[in-house]
């Protein structure tokens, strides 16, 4: 049995749109448009897509917050909405923009309260808390009321709060949003460690593709409420013919940089001293020969495809056929 | 609080560089005041659905209060009001409630608590003036969205009293505007407690508690013994918030008394606004001193 099973999951909202001065029209918006997905125990799944693609809506349906309009969802074998409180004992959730903690209470009190809410035996609670304290450096602010924590500190607290009852699945919605570099590294490192050691299933939505590259073997890309890619990162590059980049450093800038056929001028940097070409059908040699006649090349390097670039192109392309995973 | 203190220095310098007023400045002052008022009107007009819900609620309470007071009057008069006068008193009272805005305004206290008030202090307009202008804009919107519904619904179900003397209408308008200004001043003072105590919850609670009953919302204050009426009118601003405009409208008293009541109301408004400026200056000085 898969930990997460989705079959044709849909969510529609009716919104009232202004149509004229006083008239409002009802319109149906499909946020999630038939998602099929299987996630196995211990998998680390990156769930990405542009704003409004339906990522958060899917996560909310998986956690029992939203009722699906159609389709079937099972998480840990339970129906998210109907078995909500039982499911809550088996999953952990971190919503980057929502707090699970008690605003006015010190962090330690929030943890203690969660122990009661989730009915965790004291010894197990203490052991897990100790581990989180070590890995996430919580000790400095355990006694601080949550409202006084920095965003990075709070997020480390949220992660701990989501894990104290040893959930089978951890849902993370934008866990690194707005964090400083150090906190972001700490959170990523912690999640990587979690993925390596435990059999916790991890579902992560993010805007930060570095999170995905670092953590997730499997990547699900959604757009317009549908899955447009499901597979490894390598498969994504292969499928979308990811572009390699040629970075050329020149002695002097060119007034008009050449535009060889089959390669696109991607960026101009350092006041024109550096030109970056993205290879489409052309090879490296064609770019070099186009440049060599016009300027003195000081240095040349080739950059392998970047997931960010792939995904950006994926989003730009008109909604492709939904490819159902096998 | 830390943020507030930091900004304190800025406040001092802005106040110190304010230019003396000339006639050009007076024109500009009115233009600024008008602009802030219009912004207040627009800001509150975005809460259309809440206004609708509020108007429905006022209407329901209009039915409730009107029935009780009419039952008290029987077929005669009570407290000097006949049945139509009572109906007008209740329905206009429900309409005025949101225009005068007795309850639910904690903007200033909230901004003091979060430290955002520092931004108000850095503007070249006196905070009391700018908050008053915003509040007049808000009241203007409330007059359309909140006053009209109960005032239009009431007469469909009850015999209401319409003024018989033409000066009453003008006097009523003056009285309502004065009541808005006065009520704003009272709310400002209550909120300003947050400058000293970080939090104005206590004063706001007492204000909420006292203002409804003492302004004449629960029952016309003319039901009370004469000596208590005198104490309330001259000793507190509360009757001037609602009871006075309503008494003026239903011509409860002869013209001379009507004018006298509005004059008393104006007196209270001037007194309270002066107190607002005084309190604000004290608060700013306190911030500046603590920031230094």
């Amino acid at each position: 049995m898969s930990v997460i099973e989705l079959d044709g999951l849909r969510k529609e909202f009716t919104v009232r749109v202004k149509a004229g001065r006083l008239r409002r029209e009802k319109r149906t918006v499909t946020a999630v448009d038939g998602i099929d997905l299987r996630v196995e125990r211990g998998e680390l799944l990156g769930y990405i897509g542009p704003n409004g693609a339906g990522k958060s809506t899917t996560l909310k349906m998986l956690t029992g917050v939203l009722t699906p309009s159609a389709g079937r969802a099972r998480v840990c074998g339970l129906r998210p909405v109907a078995d909500r409180t039982r499911l809550a004992l088996r999953i952990g959730v971190v919503f980057g923009q929502r707090s699970q903690l008690w605003w006015d209470l010190p962090l330690a009190d929030s943890f203690d309260l969660l122990r009661h809410l989730y009915r965790v035996p004291a010894a197990a609670h203490a052991a897990r808390l100790r581990r989180c304290r070590d890995l996430l450096d919580l000790d400095d602010f355990l006694a601080t009321p949550v409202r006084q924590l920095s965003l990075g500190q709070r997020m480390r607290g949220e992660l701990t709060a989501a894990l104290l009852h040893d959930p089978q699945v951890l849902f993370l919605d934008e866990p690194t949003i707005g964090l400083d570099v150090v906190s972001r590294q700490a959170v990523r490192g912690f999640l990587a460690e979690l993925g390596r050691t435990g059999d916790t299933t991890l579902v992560l939505t993010t805007h930060d593709l570095a999170d995905i590259e670092r953590l997730c073997a499997r990547l699900v890309v959604v757009d317009h409420g549908r899955v447009v890619h499901d597979g490894t990162i390598a498969a994504l590059h292969a499928r979308y013919g990811s572009r390699r980049l040629v970075v050329a450093d020149l002695d002097a800038p060119l007034a008009v940089p050449p535009r060889p056929a089959g390669a696109a001028l991607h960026r101009v940097e350092a006041d024109g001293h550096r030109l970056v070409y993205a290879l489409e059908s052309a090879g490296v040699a064609e770019v070099v020969s186009a440049l060599a006649g016009l300027a003195a090349l000081r240095d040349l390097s080739i950059v392998e495809p970047d997931i960010e670039d792939v995904v950006a192109r994926l989003y730009r392309s008109p909604a492709p056929d939904p490819r159902r995973p096998s | 609080m830390a943020g507030l203190r930091k900004e304190g220095n800025g406040v001092g310098s802005v106040t110190a560089t304010a230019a003396p007023s000339t006639s050009a400045n007076v024109t500009r002052w009115f233009r600024t005041f008008g602009a802030i008022s219009r912004a207040g009107f627009r800001r509150y007009s975005t809460y259309r659905q809440a206004a609708l819900a509020g108007a429905v609620t006022n209407t329901v309470f209009g039915f409730l209060h009107c029935a009780v007071l009419l039952a008290a009057a029987g077929s005669g008069t009570v407290g000097g009001y006949d049945r139509p006068r009572l109906a007008t008193f209740v329905w206009m009272g429900q309409g005025l409630l949101a225009v005068v805005l007795l309850w639910g305004w904690t903007d200033l206290a909230d901004r003091i608590r979060t430290g955002d008030v520092a931004a108000d202090l850095l503007r070249p307009v006196h905070p009391v003036t700018s908050y008053l202008a915003t509040d007049l804009g808000r009241a203007g919107y409330a007059a359309l969205a909140r006053l009209l519904p109960p005032v239009l619904v009431g007469p469909l179900f009850f015999d209401v009293y319409l003024p018989s003397r033409w000066p009453t209408v003008g006097l009523f308008v003056v009285s309502v505007v004065t009541a808005v200004v006065l009520c704003f001043g009272c709310r400002f003072l209550v909120n300003a407690a947050a400058y000293w105590w970080q939090d104005a919850r206590g004063p706001v609670l007492l204000w909420t508690l006292g203002s409804g009953v003492l302004a004449g919302l629960y029952f016309p204050l003319r039901f009370l013994p004469d000596w208590l009426q005198l104490v309330l009118w001259f000793g507190t601003p509360f009757p001037s918030l609602m009871q006075t405009p309503l008494d003026v409208l239903v011509e409860r008293d002869p013209p001379a008394v009507q004018v006298g009541l509005v004059a008393l109301q104006l007196g209270w408004a001037v007194l309270v606004l002066a107190a607002c400026r005084l309190v604000q200056r004290r608060a700013e000085r306190r911030l500046v001193v603590q920031g230094g």
Binding site: T85, H116, L117 | Q49, A53, T57, V60, A67, L209
Partner: protein, 276 residues
């Protein structure tokens, strides 16, 4: 499955709720002075409701055919029931705020019922004073109304206010669910909750026409204070209902609970979490 889900610990769900309540009590009583002020302030609101009735009886001898002493029985039933319901359930009126700020999401993610969590999370302990005052008014009114006490009337004097608490509590929940569909419903719920309190403060004979029909029988407010008071006082209903109507309060309260529960369940299904 259930045994694995719920590690058998002393306390269990009950312990979880108690922990929530404890944290809430700690947070509220931290600032002792402001808590005391809140206690006093909250009693004030109910005091003024009673004062209003007294002032109105100061200018008239009868209201809808009832004397002050008779009306005070209704005031006592109404204010005790309302104040206790407001203490226990009244803060559900903050649901629109929770929906808007997304706090309701967090509530739904915890392994406890959403409604009990919301109620315990903000249980307004300061309103205890109001509840006590309401009960005090009821006791004074009952002892000074010259009631001819029988065992049945003693039972009614206990059952009616309890049914009133359940009734008003259901009303708070049912009206709050409006915000699942209409987040900006603002004070609309007040028109039925606080409006109902005002309605039940006075004899139903004070009102008339369709308004009385809607509030007294449509929404059931007549059975909260007016009908039980008639039964306690031994008066026939001028509006013509038979004398057993005074005992209908528990039944009406149960209907209210059923309606509120249905509204709540439907509301949760229609809940649209805010944000992306």
């Amino acid at each position: 499955m259930t045994a694995a889900d719920r590690p058998a610990r002393p306390g269990g769900t009950f312990g979880a709720y108690r922990a929530l309540l404890g944290a809430q009590a700690r947070a509220q009583t931290t600032y002792r002075a402001s808590f005391l002020l809140d206690l006093v302030g909250n009693v004030g609101a109910t005091v003024f409701d009673v004062v209003t009735v007294l002032v109105i009886y100061g200018v008239t001898r009868e209201l809808g055919g009832f004397t002050l002493r008779e009306t005070l029985v209704m005031v006592g039933l109404s204010s005790s029931a309302f104040a206790v319901a407001d203490l226990l359930v009244g803060n559900i009126e903050r649901l629109p705020t929770h929906v808007r700020t997304g706090l309701f999401d967090a509530v739904l993610l915890r392994p406890l019922g959403a409604l009990p969590q919301l109620l315990l999370m903000n249980l307004p302990l300061r309103k205890v004073s109001r509840g006590l005052f309401g009960v005090g008014v009821l006791v004074v009114a009952l002892t000074s109304a010259g009631i001819d006490w029988t065992p049945a009337r003693v039972a009614l004097a206990v059952v009616a206010p309890l049914a009133g608490v359940v009734f008003f509590g259901s009303l708070f929940v049912a009206t709050a669910t409006v915000s699942f569909w209409w987040v900006d419903s603002g004070e609309l719920a007040n028109s039925v909750t606080y409006g109902g309190r005002d309605f039940t403060t006075y004899p139903a004979t004070v009102f008339d026409g369709w308004f009385r029909a809607a509030f007294a029988y449509g929404l059931g407010f007549a059975f909260v204070s007016y009908q039980p008071a008639l039964a306690l006082l031994g008066r026939a209903d001028p509006l013509g209902l038979p004398s057993w109507a005074g005992w209908a309060a528990p039944g009406v309260a149960l209907v209210a609970v059923a309606v509120a529960a249905a509204a709540w369940r439907t509301g949760i299904r229609h809940y649209r979490s805010t944000g992306s």
